[in-house]
């Protein structure tokens, strides 16, 4: 159990700033998710924390100790790779016990710990098998068992669910969260999947172009995005943005509803010309443009199916947004401005 801190951490690859002066702290026992599009530097950041990549500048502090110049094995961390990186020539048992053997744990202790880790992930039956005889989900469990067996102070997980099929991914997400809660080990988790990030993270750090845009709980990130990038990266469909004299107004598709559905009186009304409808089962997506505005603003409304207001393509309707659901963003910097519009 430990904190992980990066101080002005920077990594350049041939002049490209993959990681650009990142200041970040993972609190004790926290599940921190690094979220961002591919190429945003999240994996590089994690590899530097692991010691697999040497920073160009800055420091990494694990548990109050500067580890920037220490090799991976002296940092007492465990990492799960996207490919799982199981040792193909070793049995599951040897895979799991590898970190213990590497630090010279005695034989009886190894047996006890391997049994404990295998039981935690339900892989006792596979201990004699080789990785290639396992399914994707089983391999992922072996990789996790290998990570926990040494009882490290920090877990680093690099998109460990992305090689699983969609159904398995949901249950694996659940288990991952459970085991992290049980062990209470500080965990840093890299993903580009916002659903994973929202579901797993105690806090989320959104990265773009080597910098952190925002760190916050899933609720904060979603409802009060720090800038336009976060606003449009999180949420599906993304936040609607319309331009006005001061800057940009942003509101979520589900906050943009037909007039009369929303009860309050502090609403802003927009005349909305509908161009296209999509029926998604639980929701309807309504695509269209705001009438009487130049330049033309394309927006999307997400209406729960149980709101049965009649809407047809080609028609024009009054839609409303609660004033408190509107975010304002600065035209130049893209930063969110204080207060609602």
């Amino acid at each position: 159990m430990a904190t992980v801190e990066t101080r002005r951490l920077t990594k350049h690859f041939d002049g490209v700033r993959a990681v650009d002066g990142i200041e970040m702290t993972a609190r004790e026992g926290e599940f921190l998710v690094l979220l961002g599009p591919s190429g945003c530097g999240k994996t590089t950041l994690m590899r530097m924390i692991a010691g697999l990549e040497r920073p160009t500048a800055g420091d990494i502090v694990i548990d109050g100790r500067v580890v920037t110049d220490l090799p991976p094995r002296e940092r007492n961390i465990a990492m799960v790779f996207q490919s799982y990186a199981l040792y193909p020539h070793l049995t599951v048992e040897k895979n799991i016990s590898f970190p213990l053997r590497a630090v010279g744990t005695d034989r009886a202790e190894i047996g006890r710990k391997v049994a404990w880790a295998a039981r935690m992930f339900g892989i006792e039956r596979f201990l004699d098998r080789k990785p290639r005889q396992l399914s994707g989900g089983e391999r992922q469990r072996v990789a996790l068992a290998r990570a926990v067996v040494r009882e490290p102070v920090v877990f680093l997980l690099d998109e460990p669910l992305s090689n699983l099929d969609a159904k398995l991914r949901n249950s694996a997400r659940d288990e991952l969260k459970n085991f992290q809660r049980t062990l209470g080990t500080t965990t840093i988790y890299v993903t580009h999947d916002q659903a994973e990030a929202m579901g797993l993270g105690d806090r989320i750090a959104v990265l773009n172009q080597g910098r952190i845009c925002q760190v916050g709980t899933p609720q904060e990130i979603y409802s009060r995005p720090a800038d336009i990038f976060v606003a449009t990266f999180i949420g599906s469909p993304p936040m609607n943005l319309i331009e006005d004299d001061v800057g940009y107004l942003g509101f979520r598709p589900e906050a943009f509803l037909p007039h009369g559905v929303e009860g309050g009186d502090d609403n802003i009304t927009f005349p909305f010309r509908v161009t296209r409808l999509e029926y998604l089962g639980a929701d309807r997506l309504v695509y269209g443009v705001l009438a009487e505005r130049t330049p033309e603003s394309h927006v999307i409304s997400k209406i729960p199916t149980n709101i049965r207001t009649e809407i047809a393509a080609g028609g024009q309707y009054d839609f409303v947004v609660r004033r408190q659901d509107i975010q304002r963003f600065d035209r130049k910097s893209g930063q969110r401005m204080n207060g609602a519009g």
Partner: protein, 313 residues
């Protein structure tokens, strides 16, 4: 109006003989395989059957007559002291040179996997012995091991490593001659093995190395428990090639020592050559050379099986 151009005729109509064969799958594969099959039949199969035929006859270079003599040639060969020396030497040279090649090639390949300035030059130099003809290389080594001009001796003398009266005759004393021949074989086989092992090393995913580093493996544990086991199936292929090349090689011995002193460095291939071609005893030479065959087949089968098993597990 848009008119179809005359060239728009379908390709089939325009295809000549070549086009028709290229489209005919029944004949195309035969045509494509024919050169390889002809090559093997004419240059490998036929000579092999011929030497089999000779070995049961009394064929000699000076006569056009040949009689079937049964196993007489093999009895003669097995009765000869030189045969057993040559067999022992062949195996000894092969085993020792391949062990050394395996060790050196692994070390070299690992060094070449890392980036450093001038890497391309080092790679080029390491590959050089492989592209040089064996005979030229051996002649070069003949000078290096020369009894008067040996650059090794002169260098050691200049470095005061050789005292007065000390002057190793590399190719003239049995142990040194054997060491010289093994040196040449290692020098010759090292490039191929290095390249093969290098390919094997670079096929190990970086994630595996990273995982081992995070899991706490130090340099030696990483090398002996992760890298070497993973590269073994590929390294075995390199050794298989090495065994086949060294076991059947006659040039190094022929150029450097001619089997001497007193047959102490004779190998099967060179002895077969001396008997069969230089001695004119075609039947005897054929019989000696046939002793190479079962060993090589056995080695090939064993190694292919081991490589296959290592690949599967």
């Amino acid at each position: 109006m848009h008119r179809p151009a005359p060239a728009a005729a379908t390709p089939r109509q325009r295809a000549g003989l070549f086009g028709r064969i290229a489209d005919n799958e029944r004949w195309l594969w035969r045509l494509m395989l024919a050169p390889a099959i002809l090559y093997i039949v004419l240059l490998v199969g036929f000579p092999f059957l011929l030497s089999l035929y000779y070995s049961f006859s009394d064929a000699i270079v000076a006569s056009r007559e040949m009689n079937f003599v049964g196993l007489e040639n093999f009895r003669r060969v097995l009765d000869s002291v030189t045969f057993w020396v040559a067999l022992k030497n062949t195996i000894f040279i092969t085993v020792v040179s391949q062990v050394l090649v395996l060790v050196f090639a692994n070390a070299l390949a690992m060094a070449l996997l890392v980036d450093f300035p001038g890497k391309w030059l080092v790679r080029f130099l390491i590959l050089l012995p492989w592209v040089a003809p064996i005979s030229l290389g051996s002649v070069g080594w003949l000078w290096i091991f020369d009894s008067i001009y040996s650059i090794i001796n002169w260098t050691m003398r200049e470095a005061h490593l050789l005292g007065p009266g000390q002057w190793p005759i590399w190719l003239g004393t049995p142990e040194l001659a054997m060491a010289s021949i093994i040196t040449v074989q290692v020098w010759r086989m090292l490039p191929l093995a290095t390249v093969i092992i290098l390919a094997g090393l670079s096929s190990i995913p970086q994630d595996i190395h990273d995982a081992a580093a995070v899991d706490g493996a130090g340099f030696w544990r990483h090398m002996f428990q992760i890298t070497l086991p993973l590269v073994m199936p590929v390294a075995l292929i390199a050794v298989l090639f090495g065994i086949v090349f060294v076991f059947t090689d006659l040039i190094a011995v022929f150029v450097l020592t001619r089997g001497g002193p007193y047959d102490t460095t004779q190998v099967l291939a060179s002895w077969a050559y001396f008997i069969g071609i230089q001695g004119g005893d075609l039947a005897g030479g054929a019989a000696v050379s046939l002793f190479l065959f079962p060993v090589l087949v056995a080695v090939a089968i064993v190694f292919l099986r081991m490589a296959r098993r290592a690949e599967l597990t």
